[in-house]
Amino acid sequence: MERIPVLRMGPLLLITIQVDMHDKLALQLQDDVTEKISEWGSTGVLIDISSLEIVDSFIGRMLANIAAMSRVLGAETVVVGMQPAVAITLVELGMSLPGVRTALSVEAGMELLYGAITDGTENERSEA
């Protein structure tokens, strides 16, 4: 079955969505992310959606859900590389994804996550 890979990068999880999202795939991803966070004790999740060109309200809510679930598990989520058309669609659908951090590129997202992780927890990073 088709599956979106969840990669481990130190304390972070890296997810790159390269295929068209359908509902089943989104639910599977939700399962995988929560499982991996608790398994590896990740403190940050980076979701790259720069290849995602079509989005609907379900996918939008799924992104918000992943962010909320990760926060419950103690990890920050950053969504990076959203295309203009996708952003406009989400706004028109009335979804502003509150609580989801965003960044322009993977690089900027990484910076943001490291900044969030190391805030007051400098030791944790040196261990990793």
């Binding site: 203009p84 989400l90 706004v91 965003t102 322009l104």
Partner: protein
């Protein structure tokens, strides 16, 4: 019915010269078009009309026989619309043919009242429809012109400028309606992606009024930019507009707003870790070292 065609074709020269004479008394736009040109247009239309009446009759202007007359009138009308004639000028061009034609018909068919009346009636119908064709084309040409200008205005009015590495500015001039917001939003978001800019300043100094709709459009743009990872700052809020926003109860709490573009720019520089310092060289070279990246 072919009486009409006969009468016109037999007296073409006389009709043309009288037509031009009637026209020149009714419409005096010799500044826009030359006499030779009018002459040529008149004779080609006369020929086309004769052909049309002969093959398809005077009643059915949609017939194949009228194709050349219709095309000719359309092209003349379109070119006159561009030259700056008024719609009545263009319609009079055709309608002024009535007088010479009726005079001629009356002369030829003076013996039979019935035939005279019938021919005049069909001639009236014919000329009226022809005049309508010119008016339709005239309006269509004008509308096309207006549409093109609207399009150009839309493109002109949404420039996205780069102020600094990672800082964009979008000065909005004119009222924001839904169609413009769409263009503004798209061009801003495209520019954000293309230049990888973290900060975007939306300057509304040129927006005459801000109502709830405009505010909603602005908020949409800001939310979309935020989803992509860029931060928006609104600048150029005039005192009047600040008052209106508060009176209308528009919630701009989550948006950073500044009175001047320079304030917004300073904030964006500060947030991206840059600071503005005065050069120690003094006024000798005022541009050198204006901005330096803060060492951390």
């Amino acid at each position: 019915m072919n009486d009409l065609a006969e009468i016109i074709s037999q007296n073409e020269d006389r009709l043309r010269s009288e037509w031009i004479r009637t026209m020149s008394t009714a419409v005096q736009r010799t500044d826009l078009i030359s006499k030779a040109e009018i002459d040529e247009q008149c004779s080609s239309i006369l020929q086309a009309v004769v052909e049309g009446v002969r093959t398809s009759g005077a009643q059915n202007l949609n017939g194949a026989g009228w194709n050349s007359a219709r095309d000719l009138l359309s092209s003349i009308s379109a070119s006159r619309a561009r030259q700056g004639f008024s719609p009545s000028d263009v319609a009079t061009f055709v309608l002024s043919f009535k007088q010479p034609l009726f005079a001629l018909v009356r002369e030829k068919l003076a013996k039979s009242t019935d035939a005279l009346f019938e021919t005049i009636w069909s001639a009236t119908q014919l000329l009226d429809s022809l005049a309508l064709i010119t008016t339709d084309t005239f309006i269509a040409t004008r509308e096309e012109l207006i549409h093109r200008q609207q399009q150009e205005l839309l493109e002109l009015s949404t420039p996205v400028v780069k102020l600094w590495e990672g800082i964009l500015a979008l000065p909005i001039i004119g009222t924001l309606d839904s169609a413009r917001t769409q263009v503004v939003m798209e061009s801003l978001l495209q520019a954000v992606v293309a230049s990888n800019s973290r900060y975007a300043i939306i300057d509304i100094t040129g927006v005459p009024t801000v109502d709830t709709l405009v505010a909603q459009h602005l908020l949409k743009t800001i939310t979309a930019a935020k989803l992509m990872g860029a931060e928006c700052i609104i600048s150029g809020v005039r005192p009047q507009i600040a008052q209106t926003i508060v009176h209308l109860g528009i919630n701009l709490e989550d948006v950073i707003t500044k009175a001047k573009l320079s304030d917004a720019f300073a904030l964006a520089l500060q947030r991206s870790g840059r600071t503005v310092v005065r050069s120690s060289n003094g006024p000798a070279n005022p541009m050198s070292g204006l901005f330096t990246k803060r060492e951390e």
